[in-house]
Symmetry: C2
Subunit: 145 residues, 2 copies
């Protein structure tokens, strides 16, 4: 049968369930760090570049301030970051890693390797697939904007 409305033919279903599957692999690793999945991504973004603004982070992570602000507050109360208003522009809030937040990077350094291993693929193959998925995301984002 060539039913258009067949679950297994849905790219959205593939992405949705792959996201869940990733989440389940990450869960125990991130529990050990005291982070949720989106929090982890925010921390990765900050490890990559400290001192980003809320807006800048949101742009990178594709999240609104209404999602990010409470998430960042949780990271702050966990002691991993500080939120400081910029002195040049008082509208802007700059996010800085605390010492503990910086130390957490060392504990997190092994996580990506675990994922690669769980995927059963080599890094190059994953990189290729990742690029394809990013291309899909970009096309979809363009169509909405």
């Amino acid at each position: 049968m060539q039913d258009q409305l067949k679950l297994d033919n849905f790219i959205c279903f593939a992405v949705y369930t792959a996201s869940h599957a990733l989440n389940r692999v990450y869960k125990p690793l991130l529990d050990a760090l005291g982070l949720t999945y989106p929090q982890y991504l925010a921390m990765v973004a900050l490890w990559e570049q400290d001192g980003q603004t809320v807006g800048g982070l949101g742009e990178k992570l594709f999240l609104e301030s209404s999602t990010l602000t409470p998430l960042l507050k949780r990271l702050e109360s966990a002691g991993y970051i500080r939120r400081e208003r910029s002195s040049e522009d008082e509208r802007v809030v700059v996010i800085r890693l605390s010492d503990e937040g910086k130390r957490l990077k060392e504990k997190a350094i092994g996580v990506p390797g675990c994922i690669v291993e769980a995927s059963g693929r080599d890094a190059a193959d994953l990189t290729r697939l990742q690029a394809e998925i990013v291309a899909l995301r970009e096309a979809l984002n363009k169509s909405v904007a």
Copy 2:
């Protein structure tokens, strides 16, 4: 730099953001149907095969019954499905489409096409990518189990 902890190198980040991007494309289409994204997937599974059990649906959708039960209750109170205990095995709850639920399929028939269009790819290309993502999901699920 070849930093392992770089956001753009994360397959998880690609999947996570692609999932959001898909959600944003779907949102207006599903709003018109009165469905959320996971509810839509459950309905697709039921259009594909009516009369599935909660457990069976959960297996297909990779969701626990504790996630599915409230979701299905919402679909029931929306009038799209009925939940009936099986007479053969009274532990089992069978989900059946209501007439309205069946009619909804006609309204939903155009949705996948919109997504293909938004992706800017042809169907064959999407199918190939979809298969790759499914393969990733299967590998990840295997590693957890």
